[in-house]
């Protein structure tokens, strides 16, 4: 088989961090080669070297047998290498189509003028090919994260490269979109394109990968065929030991007192009369398709966005939540789905990010901060959550994606809230850390905290939730018991508006499947 | 390099008036064999910048200092320092409220502006509306020229009404815009006084752009002002003797360095010039381009 790319003995250090040493990778034409490893293993760094973003310290890169120096993204593109970045790299003020064709705009008038009509038409064509209902003229800023991810994917695909690097392309996508993406990958494979695929979703390996290369601590571990290697083997290679077996599903909570009651929450078409009750010690999973409005509900409860109507009671006391500060004071925490934009002060260090939600607790006489106590707290959570960072003084933006996510979790754990809303808590998190976070959520519930968990991964929802709330188009279409089947959930998730709206009026664990039958 | 060194700190340096003072100082420097430097802040409101310049000049240990104070009180500590270091100080352009300067070579701006007021009154026929465009609201020269003009009108020409007094920073463009607004607001304006070169040019520009007819009296000189007087667009202007101020300041400094007696007050005088006398040699000598 034709070898497209061969990287060997790659080394790369950042100040204070040795990200790669002796890393290796080989990509053949027409294969999907998965690159696996824990958060911070160096996957993104290796690929950034291949796509001309970072310069390697040592090692060689061969592209189709020729040694190459890839000094810039432009050179990588010229060599036929394009990359879908883990962290979205779009221009929010430009439209979807303009983003896709940046640098390659169709022109007219002696190459000076933009041919906007053709630009939009070409983009629409690509979108149609991907079965994506998206207006090419929409500014990217106004798209949800998932749709932005689709734009990013479309952009990379439109380069028609021979080597396509996908760094966690599905982290923000729902099942249908993932299917669509895999169909595209299959077509690319048939055309002889080599795809490098990075993901933390283990189940995807078997579906699309031909070979799997595993990295650990910046070093090459092994390359194995996907078809004949078990997931457990790969996990063992990744973490250097085998993980404890699967958790059993959560035990149902017996008639615990209600903590949070939401009734009649409403804002335009985004939230349409949502009501539910959350109990002490309960994990209430929120399922739904992209754009179902789960995030909107969470932000509304938290006071991040205004609501038109609705009542929120905590422990029987009515709350007037106008700002996040009111919610936090009342004991509600919200872990947002977009950590970069809403979760982290990326320019600040780990310690301060951990302490950000409760600096008051670390403030002594005259506004003085107790740095020692802050450090202790940060170090405690670095250990507890396994946050991979050289020290608690490292800037948050220099952590790998998954570790940034853990950092946000640490922030809310430290705050010690009564009600915690986790919005996509495991997005971009490796298997090991994922089970760590699952255990954490379960423990938190066990301790008596009430948890709302929004997730687009059904297995996750099913595994953790005591009850499952399902949303569709801004409405709560029903609340199912923990053991519900995937089919039941999907039925509610696609139950488009028929007549009127309905929801849980606070009736405890009673299944609401019949809501709008 | 045994020439005595005289540091001149003026109120400005980019404006033509100050460049003329500098030219006079340079002339004296060449003729009398002294070394001079000349500097001043960007605008006449920057009192503290001028103080810094004075401080830097002191560090150069000059044989004498020429100083045109933007605010004489503010400079007193440094002037005392000069006195202690036995560096004679010559005040120029306007006085310093202190007995430290051994001499003052200055124009009496109050009297000069009063003369402009008298000329204005005569030219507009003793009654009607007039306006002032001044370069600065708070600097000594700005205040003196404004007050000199206004007080004389009030005291001697009661039928003349001053309808506007505005400040354009001496910036040609801003002065033009302000003058235009004044002219638009007062369609029956009979005369306008521009209290320095930039202000006067602004008035002329405005009158020209709006195609109006009125009595314009200016201050200082410069090519366009002289041209406007010859054309009749400007009735006349007050001129000081900037070249003389520069020259006499250096001359007095040299005398003071040598320990010779110096006149305490050197009145460098002012003149009113118009179409009729602009080419007379005594006037010509005090005008600059």
């Amino acid at each position: 088989m034709n070898v497209l790319v061969e990287m060997s003995d790659i080394g790369k250090s950042f100040p204070g961090v040795r990200a790669l040493h002796g890393a290796r990778f080989e990509l053949r034409a027409g294969e999907v080669h998965a690159l696996m490893g824990e958060n911070g293993a160096g996957k993104s760094t290796l690929m950034k070297i291949l796509s001309g973003i970072h310069a390697r310290d040592r090692g060689t890169i061969l592209v189709q047998g020729q040694p190459v120096e890839i000094a810039s993204p432009a050179q990588a593109l010229a060599l036929g290498i394009s990359m879908i970045h883990q962290e979205l790299s779009l221009m929010p003020d430009l439209t979807a189509a303009q983003n896709i064709f940046i640098g390659r705009e169709p022109r007219k008038g002696f190459g000076l003028l933009l041919d906007e009509a053709r630009l939009n038409a070409q983009a629409a064509e690509i979108f149609a090919g991907l079965h994506l209902a998206l207006d090419p003229g929409t500014p990217v800023r106004s798209l949800t994260i998932a749709r932005q991810q689709m734009v990013e994917i479309t952009k990379a695909l439109s380069h028609r490269s021979r080597v396509l690097i996908m760094d966690e392309p599905t982290a923000a996508l729902n099942a249908a979109e993932v299917n669509e993406l895999f169909a595209i990958i299959a077509r690319l494979k048939a055309d002889g394109v080599g795809v490098i695929y990075i993901s933390h979703k283990m189940d995807e390996l078997q579906r699309i990968a031909d070979r799997v290369t595993v990295m650990r601590d910046g070093a090459y571990v092994d390359t194995v065929p996907a078809a004949t290697t078990s997931i457990d083997t790969i996990i063992t290679m990744m973490v250097g030991r085998s993980l404890a077996g699967d958790h059993p599903g959560p035990a149902p909570v017996a008639s615990a007192p209600a903590v949070l009651q939401v009734s009649g929450l409403r804002r335009g078409t985004a939230i349409r009369d949502v009501s539910f009750t959350l109990h002490r010690g309960e994990i209430l999973g929120f399922a739904g398709l992209m754009g179902a409005g789960r995030t909107e509900v969470a932000r509304a409860i938290f006071g991040a966005d205004p609501v038109e109507r609705g009542e929120i009671t905590l422990n029987g006391r009515r709350l007037a939540i106008r700002r996040p500060q009111d919610a936090v004071r009342a004991g509600i925490g919200y872990l947002s789905e977009d950590r970069k934009q809403f979760g982290l002060a990326t320019g600040m260090d780990v310690r301060n990010n951990v302490a950000l939600a409760c600096l008051g607790r670390f403030t002594g006489f005259g506004g003085l901060l107790k740095e020692g106590a802050m450090r202790d707290a940060a170090v405690r959570y670095i250990g507890q959550l396994g946050i991979r960072t050289p020290s608690d003084r490292q800037e948050a933006r220099l952590l790998s994606g998954g570790n940034q996510q853990k950092l946000v979790i640490a922030k809310w754990l430290l705050r010690d809230c009564q009600v915690l809303i986790f919005d996509e808590p495991t997005r971009g998190i490796d298997v090991g850390a994922k089970s760590e976070i699952y255990r954490l959520l379960a423990d938190l519930a066990q301790e008596g905290r009430a948890i709302i968990m929004i997730s687009s991964e059904l297995p996750e929802i099913l595994r953790l939730s005591h009850r499952i709330a399902v949303m569709c188009e801004g409405r709560l279409t029903g609340i199912l018991p923990g053991g519900a089947s995937q089919e039941e959930i999907m039925r509610l998730a696609t139950q488009r508006d028929a007549n009127g709206v309905q929801g849980d009026a606070g009736a405890g664990a009673r299944p609401m499947a019949e809501a709008t039958a | 390099q045994d020439k005595p060194y005289v540091a001149l700190i003026s109120k400005g340096f980019q404006h033509q008036f100050w460049q003329a003072v500098k030219a006079g100082a340079d002339k004296a420097a060449a003729e009398l064999s002294v070394r001079v430097t000349f500097e001043g802040p960007d605008s006449e409101s920057q009192v503290d910048r001028q103080i810094d310049m004075l401080a830097a000049a002191l560090a150069k240990k000059p044989a004498a200092i020429g100083f045109a104070a933007l605010d004489s009180q503010a400079a007193i500590p440094l002037l005392r320092q000069a006195q202690q270091a036995r560096i004679p100080v010559i005040a120029f352009d306007s006085g310093v409220d202190s007995d430290i300067p051994v001499a003052t070579a200055a124009t009496n701006n109050l009297a000069a502006a009063a003369l402009a007021a008298d000329k204005m009154a005569g030219l507009v026929g003793g009654e009607g509306k007039v306006a002032l465009l001044v370069h600065d609201q708070t600097s000594r020269t700005g205040i003196d020229r404004r007050d000199g003009f206004v007080n004389r009108i009030k005291s001697s020409h009661p039928k003349i009404r001053i309808v506007a007094t505005e400040y354009g920073g001496g910036d040609h463009l801003k002065s033009t815009e302000i003058a235009k607004a004044i002219l638009q607001a007062h369609q029956d304006l009979k005369g306008m006084f521009g209290a320095n070169e930039g202000s006067a040019i602004g008035v002329i520009n405005a009158v020209k752009e709006l195609n109006r007819k009125l009595v314009v009296i200016g201050y200082d000189s410069g090519a366009p002002q002289k041209q406007a007087i010859r054309d009749g667009r400007m009735a006349g202007a007050i001129t000081q003797n900037p070249i003389g101020i520069g020259y006499k300041t250096v001359e007095a400094a040299l005398k003071a360095i040598k320990g010779q007696p110096v006149e305490k007050v050197i009145d460098t005088g002012f003149y009113y010039y118009d179409k009729t006398n602009i080419d007379q040699p005594d006037i010509k000598a005090v005008l600059y381009d």
């Binding site: 993204p73 432009a74 929010p92 992209m290 | 040609h172 815009e177 607004a181 638009q184 607001a185 090519a223």
Partner: protein, 332 residues
């Protein structure tokens, strides 16, 4: 599986709201005009309107230059002194060297582009923050203008037709009732050109892209340095036009003038709704911003508000105007 969105409706909706917003941005300006014309009936006289437009021309052109740079996420503090520098260059070419008018015009614009290119190179290649690069340039150009001119104004008396550049009226020749000065015409031409470049050309696309997410543009394989330099050079060329305008109005190149103009220009840009963090902005907004500033200045003078109070009122109204714009945008 994604929600089927009625595309046409959405598109139309967003277009409408865009247009509506632009209309609303006018509202502060119109409110000012209405108030002033009620308070001073002369305010809307032809002479006055022309005077206001004329007084907008220089600041307007500078503000357009600043807009381009600000959309890339940068800032240009050198617009004012660069204008002066270009005026001086025109003076040298036309008066000292006695070359024909066309060459003077060319020289001014070329000098502006060159200076802009220099700032752009400092920003793009040397990675100097735009604030510092253009601050240094502002000072250097101020000094150079003084050095080259010999610290004295250069008059254009030997160049017949030079004053026509800003003061003549081509429109007046055709429509004698509407003697709009050429300076105003030039402002609008520059605005149309800049708008066209921003909306329709590759350069414009990269101007927005750079301000929106420079790193993403670079990752897309675009030579961001080159485009950024091009934007600064274009802005510099426009400052050259401003230099010609002011020189023509004053019939002279005044080397001492120019510092402080950058703040007025940037203020017009920001009042016009362009964000200082880059990525968004319109030329129309900038024009409105510049007009708001000159209407305010002219109107307050017309009402004979004492000058110290003019500052107070201007400051408050600028805040108010932007606040109203923000309120309306929130609702729209």
């Amino acid at each position: 599986m994604t929600m089927a969105m009625p595309k046409q409706v959405l598109l139309a909706g967003s277009r409408l709201s865009g247009a509506r917003h632009r209309l609303l941005a006018f509202s502060s300006l119109i409110a000012l005009i209405v108030i002033f014309s009620l308070a001073a009936p002369d305010f809307l006289s032809a002479g006055n309107v022309i005077a206001i437009l004329q007084s907008t021309s220089v600041n307007g052109v500078l503000a357009i230059a600043a807009t381009l740079v600000i959309i890339t996420g940068g800032i240009d503090l050198s617009v004012g002194t660069l204008m002066t520098f270009c005026a001086v260059i025109a003076g040298v070419v036309l008066t000292y060297w006695g070359l024909p008018l066309g060459l003077g015009v060319l020289a001014a614009i070329a000098a502006g582009s060159l200076a802009g290119l220099t700032s752009g190179t400092c920003v793009a290649k040397l990675r100097i923050p735009p604030f510092i690069a253009t601050l240094g340039m502002m000072l250097a150009l101020k000094g150079l203008a003084l050095v080259i001119s010999g610290t004295r104004p250069i008059y254009f008396n030997n160049t017949p037709g030079f004053t026509e550049i800003a003061q003549g009226s081509l429109v007046g020749l055709v429509l004698p009732a509407l003697p709009i000065p050429n300076g105003v015409l030039i402002l609008f031409l520059v605005a149309i050109m800049a708008s066209f470049i921003l909306q329709r050309t590759v350069l414009g696309r990269y101007t927005f892209a750079l301000g929106s997410n420079e790193e993403a543009v670079r990752l897309s394989g675009v030579n961001t340095d080159r485009w950024k330099m091009a934007v600064y050079a274009l802005a510099g060329g426009i400052c050259g036009i401003a230099g010609l305008l002011i020189a023509s109005r004053l019939n002279s190149a005044q080397p001492a003038l120019g510092q402080g103009y950058e703040l007025d220009a940037i203020a017009a840009v920001v009042i016009g709704g362009t964000s200082l963090s880059g990525g968004r902005g319109t030329i129309v907004g900038t024009l409105i911003g510049a007009l708001i500033m000159s209407v305010l200045a002219f109107g307050l003078r017309l009402l004979s508000v004492p000058q110290e109070w003019q500052f107070v009122v201007t400051g408050s109204i600028i805040i108010l105007a932007v606040y109203i714009d923000i309120l309306r945008r929130g609702k729209a």
